[in-house]
Symmetry: C2
Subunit: 930 residues, 2 copies
């Protein structure tokens, strides 16, 4: 490359760096970037800014303005919070161009220009950073505007807003003293609503606000509009590292080095009396995805009034009759924006004296259900293709749609059980939630950390509350609508929410609320159980049982998953231990059973005594007798599985856990014995003593065996295939049950394909022992039943050595299934039970490790072993079938790694099957070879 | 290769296969093998046979005979115990040649030929297989021999031996009824010794033996000499799979598919009256290695009498005066044999009427001390080179030489403590042994398996006893000398042994013995403690303390290890926690400290309370205060280590074990609390109650913390580097102690090179946290002390993920040390504590796995990880220093693997350092690139 070619990605030379662009300068911005790099534009201007630029180019009416870039923000933050060289001058120059276009002048005593100053980062962080409106007002310009508009009330309402926002956002004063002043003014006049306050009142409020400002900051409210602008720009920059913003980014995985842009835009007024208004809307219903405008507006109000949810709003459809022409223009603009951005848009608008202005557009947040419906619809409308539709829905959204819900039956039961419906309000975020009421975010977070299900109840939520909202099962507010902060955040995190429940009187201080019902008030205190349905807006007292959703009725989901099946390379199987699980897995689209844990059958109440007598057997004969009792029970379990799967492969893992898990705990037995001895001391009859002594003997026998089986590290002890080698009769019984079950099912006309899986293998020698047992039993069963069963023999790979020696294991094993839970434990030398509470979370929080390896499969260590095992296993046996049956099999990030490694399938819990189908398709679409 | 070239390794065509060779046909044997393939000759003819052939070629007087090959044995065993085609005919033809040479004829009524039939496999298995002497005697030939020799007594002694041995060996009759007959005959005549029985007595014994034979087998003793020969040949073949032989091969690692040859040789008679005799001798002293003939002989006796140890023998030096000419001839032959075989020989000879016959020669078994002395001497004499000398000594032999021994001081203490010297007998195998007396092999094995130290006491030992001998710490017999079965086996396994302790009266049935002493008889019953010194032949009552050997005085060892140091590539370091260990390690030749475990210092009685108060601290301040107390103690420990190592590298590992290990056990605390409550109930004073209550509170606090720290799998829990991340103040204290100690030592004029090692690392993030702590402390110490310490920072590799991500770990770590104990546990998913008792031994016994991976480093799994880590670590940091500090570092097989992988050093316990030096040299000499 010659020196004369300019490298477009190089950092701009500080001397001629451009930090500020006008909304009409999108071409100039694009010229600094590779062609068509929309992401680059968004990175530089922020999402909000980029869209303002794009709208301006599309001819949509956007109030003139300019954007200070994220690069400027980063330079500012990197250099001890000093503006980079030239930035402020460029801001002044851009301001001048706006003055020219609008014919107004900043700080001018005759025709003053007012601007807003808004944050805007590459990825939307709703309400997380700061905004200041009406910059440019001061004592002089306020009077000028009074003259110009003749509307003193409006001007001083605007002025008091500037002082209030400036005080709060820029100077960090609490909002409450300001709100108290307004409340006092209303009270003094016996008024209820802000709009009822007159000009004199707002003038007085403005003065009192300036007094508050002085009292809290020690200096006067700045009268110089440029000083206002400078401080507001700094405040927006600084808000990038505000606690709320940092928490939000940590929760959502947004990088901390992106920075925010600052959008400075001519203020238009929705509160300039009749014919003015402001609103927010989605181009489609963000709850259901239905293709219909959805939103709220308020006449004679400024934007914050709508979003904050403080005043109750009108539905957008109302605008059609109120201002038909404006409404039609708005509808047209929405269509153009959807066409341009190929997605549902979330727009803000203001009507100033009958003129529509679009203040911002962005891709709208939506519920899981809406995301799926919209993706499928957009593909149907030809705006995107199937692959894009598949990428538009996150696996988490599919999961949310499968969240538990209350059914009608549950509700009726609830009434019978005295769990009353006490309120029906705004269905802000769907899903059923059951939890204990808490009235602040910190308590919500703390209780949730202790494993409590909590529902956070607040009059309204603010960005400060997000950490509590994330920790809660559900959110309930008494104020605000479908676009309130609570609703938006809840939808994003898939948390059920009911908003605007006006009958609730919430006393945050006393941690209690009363609900006015037709039968009189009911009281809910901190810790009381409540249930809510975010899909219907209903609130119940007590704990309602939840039911599973009916996936079959989710048509858009079915369509999307059908497309996913066409694109994915990975098979999706399910882990299922019972016929009911297997049936559910089939409903969800599972193509096989990747893991049936036979020990779960052993734990069943009716069988546990048999299992215990097998373990307590002191001779091989007695053990054999106990196993004979278990055989028909296991056989019938397996028959049910094979029947449910109708010939699809069923991988059955032989007994895995250490035997002591089937016996009472050592500590419990010791306690029981102590109790029994006390009972004997206080016994009042010989019979009682005799009975207690017999019990003592039984418990002592148990204790002896439990002591015998006690291990210092049971995870690494006598379990898995080791049990099979030491007690071959147990394995033989299980193999017999599997093969006899298959034979019986086949006789009844249903195909059956059992695959026998050996757990915890670490050496080929172990597989050889098990293979011998299996072949011997198979030969016997064939002889007895008269027909041979076609089965496969394979092994779990869940021990590093198994992965390392996979090449030899494949000599005997016909399939591998990666048990990545144990493989992660042994590869890291970490016991999950011990670690997650004790140090692993601290590791993740402190950034010692990138993520919890039990959540996302570790690509560097565990993933390396999996890759090695697949490679060497297939070298030995090219048709080796390989899958994963650890919890990672249902985790999208891990599924992508499994796709990359080239596994044949993932197996996960039945409920995760739809999630896995989508994730597998996304992995295939996004993989480099696709 | 053209078809006409004969492939010498091809199986011989059955039609013209040669199964039998005469002793004079060595050239023919060699012609079937590649040139110079002495191992091939030994494989085909067995060790004993090959040497008989070689002696014959050297002109040594060997009684004529022939050998049936091991190939014939294997063919026989493979084909349902049928002789292969042609074998028997060849045996008959070879017999004819012997008849021609000797002028005697098999079964001839005038000049009958007698032969012996002996087993002989490639590797010596002393006494493990069967021998039959005097084949060819029957009622007719016996009378012929009486006529020929005029010595009826001799002939019928020989005949009764044939019937007895044939009955026992070929027909499986117990030896006891035969011996009882002899005892009865002696008793009837009031005689004590066998030699006192006259011709008539032996005639009568022979008849009674034939009666016994008939009674036990149901048929007559075979009179046909060829039938005798055939059955004896079969018996020898069959004995290859006799229980004794199989056990022995399992214990010594000899392959089971080698088979045994059968050596059929003219019998010469050492019991043909005066001028006849028989003996065994070593060409050098097998206990000390001294270059002097060493052995025993018996005049007028047959070979078994000497080996069985039933009669007490004369030392070989006695022969010089008894038969000077024969002695000189014998000495000359011994020299020629040593020269030919380049090693000390173990020979059997017989003198028949003044004529010396050599019956066998083989490399002699020897003690560890002798092995080293002989190897060094042979190299000095020019018979072998240094490399060969290094290969002649096994690392186990070096270890044996370092076995504990009693010192004079110990002996004196013993007398004071009432542990009396009760016997001084034959010093059959050196070393000090302390254990409980047991009187049979099965008990010895059983007790030893339960962890008991046992000493096996027997009148004499037989091959049946070997399993008990292997399990015993020492062996004590009342009969037999330095070449008795007990002595030979004990020396081979490095087990101390005292033999021929004639004052012992052993009652095997009652499991007790009496020892006649000058102060009257003392009694020892099963389970009583005794001590014995195999180097002096002393036996003591009770448990004598043992002292360590003085390696500095072992000159031959020093020479050999000096040669080893010249040949080895691997460094040899030691694991040492205390200055005394470090000093010992230096004495043994350690070049550095590969592992200092700082937790051992924490466990010391005086410090444990400080450590506990550090753990119990509920604030960081209190923890810091406790750590401040520990700092100077740790510092002084480290100063001692640095001083002992005088500038050699010292790797110090930061705290590793879980904190609960420093607190009382949960179960113990619960028991204590129960006890305290009982004490309160029965208290008799208020003071007592108050004290008990205070103790209850203290224990309850402890219990709470122990509960808190309790883990389900502590091996995989909060320990190692995880402690350092969660409690950085502990690491900071340790790092400070290390660096301050180094600074202090350097100030005093001794160089110090500390290396700080992080345990249990699994992620680079952990190392980054620790590196930061270390660097911060180092900077502070430098500031405070005024001089910077040159130290290294490195990590254990003991978790599979550390090995897998070694390439990134090496970005921060300057050295790796493989902790193969934990690495084996995590790679196999096996907790050693739980597994070795529960299933691992069963795995090894049943052949599920090839060997215990905690004993020998697993090359396929763990070794693969080590190799991967070394390769990727060095790719990142070419000068990365890598070693091993697990127990494998002292295991020769594992050392060879470490050499092969290319580690820089192995680190092992101080006592294993000499072993490791030799093993490392052998690995270097035997490696393919050498």
């Amino acid at each position: 490359m010659s020196d004369s070619v300019k490298d477009s990605t190089a950092a701009p030379d500080a001397a001629d760096a451009v930090w500020v662009y006008g909304f009409d300068q999108l071409d100039q911005v694009e010229a600094t970037l590779p062609p068509g790099d929309w992401e680059g534009v968004r990175g530089l201007l922020g999402g909000k800014g980029a869209n303002l630029f794009e709208m301006t180019r599309l001819g949509v009416p956007v109030p003139p303005g300019f954007t200070v870039t994220t690069a400027a923000c980063n330079a500012y933050l990197d250099h001890d919070r000093n503006f980079p060289d030239g930035m402020w001058d460029q801001e002044l120059a851009a301001l001048e161009r706006v003055e020219t276009v609008t014919g107004k002048v900043f700080g001018d005593p005759h025709k003053p220009l007012l601007v807003s100053c808004r944050s805007g980062s590459k990825f939307s962080m709703p309400g997380m950073m700061d905004t200041v409106l009406n910059i440019g007002l001061n004592d002089t310009t306020a009077e000028a505007m009074v003259k110009d508009t003749g509307d003193e009330r409006f001007v001083f309402d605007a002025y008091r807003r500037l002082v209030q926002m400036f005080g709060c956002v820029v100077m960090g004063i609490d909002d409450e003293p300001f709100e108290e002043v307004i409340a006092e003014e209303k009270e003094a006049r016996g008024l209820k609503l802000d709009v009822e306050l007159d000009a004199a009142a707002w003038r007085r409020v403005t003065e009192r606000f300036k007094g508050l400002y002085r009292a809290f900051t020690g200096s006067d409210f700045p009268q110089d509009p440029l000083k206002q602008l400078e401080l507001a720009t700094r405040a927006v920059f600084n808000s990038w590292f505000g606690k709320r913003a940092v928490d939000y980014r940590n929760a959502t995985g947004i990088r901390h080095d992106l920075g925010t842009a600052v959008n400075i835009q001519t203020v238009v007024f929705g509160n300039m009396g009749v014919g003015s208004g402001t609103g927010v809307a989605f181009t489609r219903n963000p709850n259901t995805g239905e293709k219909v405008l959805y939103g709220d507006y308020l006449m004679n109000a400024q934007g914050e009034d709508v979003v904050a949810g403080i005043r109750n709003t009108e539905p957008i459809s109302q605008l059609k009759s109120e201002m038909p022409q404006v409404y039609q223009e708005f509808v047209d603009i929405c269509d153009r924006l959807e066409a341009r951005f190929s997605d549902m848009q979330d727009v803000e608008f203001t009507i100033e004296r009958g003129k529509l202005w679009m203040l911002q557009t962005r891709n709208g947040k939506r519920t899981a259900r809406a995301a799926i419906q919209i993706a499928v619809d957009l593909a149907g409308e030809g705006l995107i293709d199937q692959r894009e539709a598949l990428l538009r829905v996150t696996p988490d959204q599919v999961d949310q749609l499968l969240h538990p819900q209350f059914t009608e039956a549950t509700r009726k039961d609830a009434v019978v059980a005295g769990k009353r419906l006490v309120e029906k309000a705004v269905n802000a975020s769907p899903g059923a939630a059951v939890g204990r009421a808490v009235f602040d975010a910190d308590t919500a977070e703390k209780w949730a950390a202790n494993g409590e299900a909590v529902i956070m109840v607040r009059p309204e939520t603010k960005p400060d509350d997000v950490h509590g909202m994330i920790a809660s099962k559900g959110i309930l507010t008494s104020r605000g609508g479908a676009t309130s902060h609570a609703a938006v955040v809840a939808r994003q995190f898939g948390t059920p929410a009911v908003c605007g429940a006006e009958t609730l009187k919430i006393d945050v201080e006393r941690k209690a609320m009363s609900i006015a019902t037709s039968e009189g008030p009911v009281y809910v205190r901190e810790g009381d159980w409540i249930s809510l349905d975010g899909a219907t807006g209903e609130v119940f007292l007590g704990q309602l049982p939840t039911h599973e959703p009916d996936v079959a009725k989710e048509e858009a989901l079915a369509t999307l998953l059908g497309w996913a099946d066409q694109h994915r390379k990975l098979g999706v199987w399910a882990n299922a231990d019972y016929p009911a699980d297997a049936k559910r897995a089939r409903t969800f689209g599972a193509e096989g059973i990747g893991l049936c844990r036979t020990e779960h059958m052993f734990f069943e109440e009716a069988r546990l005594p048999l299992v215990q007598s097998m373990i307590m057997a002191d001779t091989e004969e007695r053990r054999a007798a106990a196993l004979d009792f278990l055989l028909p029970l296991q056989r019938s379990d397996f028959e049910g599985l094979f029947e449910a799967m109708e010939g699809r492969p069923v991988i059955i893992r032989l007994l895995d856990p250490p035997l002591h898990e089937f016996l009472p705990a050592y500590d419990d037995l010791q306690q029981d014995l102590t109790d029994l001895k006390v009972r004997i001391q206080h016994a009042t009859s010989l019979t009682e003593i005799d009975e207690a002594l017999a019990e003592v003997r039984r418990k002592e026998d148990l204790l002896a065996r439990v002591s015998d089986l006690r291990e210092s590290n049971p995870m690494l002890g006598l379990r898995g295939v080791r049990l099979g080698v030491i007690y071959p009769e147990i394995s033989a019984m299980q193999v017999r049950a599997i093969l006899e079950a298959a034979a019986n099912v086949i006789r009844r006309g249903t195909p059956a394909h059992p695959e026998i899986m050996i757990p915890l293998t670490s050496d080929l020698g172990e597989l050889a022992v098990m293979r011998k047992i299996v072949d011997e039993v198979a030969a016997k069963v064939q002889e007895e039943m008269g027909n041979g069963i076609d089965f496969k023999f394979g092994t779990m790979i869940e021990i590093p050595r198994a992965a390392l020696t996979a090449g030899t294991l494949a000599e005997t094993a016909e399939f591998f299934s990666f048990g990545t839970n144990d493989l992660t434990q042994t590869t890291y030398g970490i016991s999950r039970d011990d670690a997650e509470g004790k140090f692993l979370m601290q590791y993740v929080e402190q950034g010692v490790i990138a993520s919890n390896p039990f959540q996302h499969l570790d690509p560097d260590g565990v993933g390396q072993l999996v890759r090695h095992a697949v490679e060497h296993g297939r070298k030995t046996r090219p048709d080796l079938h390989v899958g994963i049956c650890g919890e990672h099999g249902g985790d999208p990030k891990s599924i992508a790694l499994c796709h990359d490694i080239g596994l044949d399938y993932v197996s996960c819990s039945p409920f995760r099957v739809p999630v896995a189908r989508l994730a597998a398709a996304q992995a295939a679409i996004q993989s480099p070879e696709a």
